[in-house]
Symmetry: C2
Subunit: 327 residues, 2 copies
């Protein structure tokens, strides 16, 4: 599938000199499930990690139909116009079927996808949530080492990946439609409270007033939430990606957040906590994965779950008995 | 400390015949950290578990000062007047200091604490979150087997225990003050989205209008949230525990929820999921606890965290190396 034409040092030099071919192929190594590719990937990551960390990491989420790709197209160009280099990573572990649509997205980002200062990459949509999050994290490291100082991580907002993305990013941006009704929004509960900012998309034409009203309502709602740890009150904006209205304001909001959290040291604290959580999450996931991989455990668990359904056993006791059997 | 005057069968018979002395002493066994007490507790739980599950489990949370104990006093009496037997379990793992205040609460529940149809019990405020949750779960089983068909689980709303309580209950009720300002509310982010209902307390005297306004605001805000899995739109009410106003309405709201979720089978599905999650949570917690209890791991983790701070290593790689060292 992939030519192993490069050795590790070529990868490292290629990434550090911003060669897009090496960046792209290194991410392919990260995403590969082959053992030898994983080993190479880890060697590369270990060598470049000290050059990472200097980008602003922006999580962008919203349901299908909210206009994520057109938003990323126009907002991405704004970010580049302000002097940045931009990498866009799209992850969607919830569905393998959407692979096509992500590639579709890429072609819809007409200007961005061919811009020399932009790098767009659909991330693996298969594998465990932890696995996808890890690969995304390592892809971020590669992009940063290659000099991309703005990284977007795009998710669909209907799965569990948002919590993982929240863990990986500095700012979590939620895209919403005006007046679509609760059901149509389809955003998972709990995601709204993670947002550092919200943008009502498609605020153009006959939709403009509705978007303004929605903005007011969401702003009031977010204000009722308890304050965030960063002491930042999430803002709500409207924008039209097609008319390129409100896009500058989104940049300014995020920039204001950045200055606010750097000034109060929340930025560095959050990054440090994310790294620690990342370590412990990996440890915990691995422990659990290995435990359940045992075929005896798998069989016993099925038996226990049957007994639980009939209210015959105490779940705590059942778990303890399982451990006794294992040792 | 505790006389082991009873044998297991005496406990079981005592609980099943609603003898409050046995209920109370059995919970003390559950809460004890002594190995022999734990073994006795597990034998009791295993014997009575088939008699549990028939109560309505209500989580009640709110910051100190919101008036939880006066609310529980008047709402508890309402529940009893509607023909139920009520057990109140108060947990607060976040602070050992508050032991005194929980006992203080109990004396503030003047009528409830001496009512023959009520059982009030402050739960252990020490130990790990998982441990506290487990003890609470087992205390619920004891109360249910003793015929209490309404169980309140009270928490403080500022810690992590709310997620655990959410896992243990059928309905999650959030008490809020009107116009206290975001800062004063002190509720942890994410708790609002867990609420199945909200009650603005102290809606009396000069505070009445403010409470009504707050009710409207919160109702609008909750409506903007994505719908809950149960298809229930959380309601917001006001009440005055001292003037005994709005208390009946809280009962009716919860009863409506109960009928709604029984009719659409969400009630039983949620219970079944909670039991399964309880099993897996216990397994996962135990795996993690045992891993970190290893002194070599403790030492290695400290080293790794230092290297992470300097951005020298990849957290994923560090975790994997740790596992290699262990095997």
């Amino acid at each position: 599938m992939m030519k192993n034409a490069f050795n590790i040092n070529e990868y490292i030099d290629g990434i550090l000199s911003s060669n897009i071919t090496y960046v792209s192929k290194a991410i392919t190594l990260v995403e590969s499930t082959k053992h030898e590719h994983q080993e190479q990937a880890q060697q590369i990551i270990n060598a470049i990690i000290k050059h990472s960390g200097s980008s602003f990491r922006l999580g962008i989420t919203g349901v299908p139909g909210v206009g994520k790709s057109t938003f990323i197209e126009s907002f991405g160009l704004e970010v580049i116009n302000r002097g940045h280099k931009l990498a866009v990573l799209a992850i969607d572990p919830s569905s393998q079927l959407s692979k096509g649509s992500i590639l579709g997205d890429k072609t819809r980002m007409e200007q961005l996808s061919i811009h020399p200062k932009a790098f767009i990459r659909p991330s693996p949509s298969s594998g465990s949530l932890g696995g996808v999050a890890r690969k995304t994290k390592e892809s971020i490291i590669i992009c940063e080492a290659a000099g991309y100082d703005y990284v977007f991580i795009e998710t669909v907002g209907v799965g569990q990946s948002e919590t993982a993305v929240h863990q990986l990013t500095d700012f979590f941006l939620l895209l919403m439609l005006a007046g679509a009704g609760d059901e149509l929004q389809g955003i998972k509960r709990g995601i709204m409270e993670m947002a550092d900012g919200m943008v009502i998309t498609k605020a153009d034409g006959t939709n403009t007033d509705k978007a303004k009203m929605a903005r007011g309502e969401y702003a009031r709602a977010l204000h009722l939430f308890p304050p965030t740890e960063s002491n930042w009150i999430p803002e709500v904006l409207t924008c039209s990606s097609t008319e390129n209205k409100g896009i500058k304001e989104v940049y300014d909001m995020i920039d204001k957040y950045k200055r606010h959290t750097i000034a109060n040291h929340f930025f560095e604290t959050k990054r440090a906590n994310q790294t620690k959580q990342w370590l412990h999450q990996t440890i915990n996931d691995t422990l659990i994965e290995r435990f359940y991989a045992n075929p005896i455990i798998k069989e016993e668990i099925l038996k226990i779950e049957k007994q639980l359904e009939q209210n015959l056993i105490n779940p705590y006791q059942a778990a303890m008995d399982l451990f006794k059997k294992m040792t």
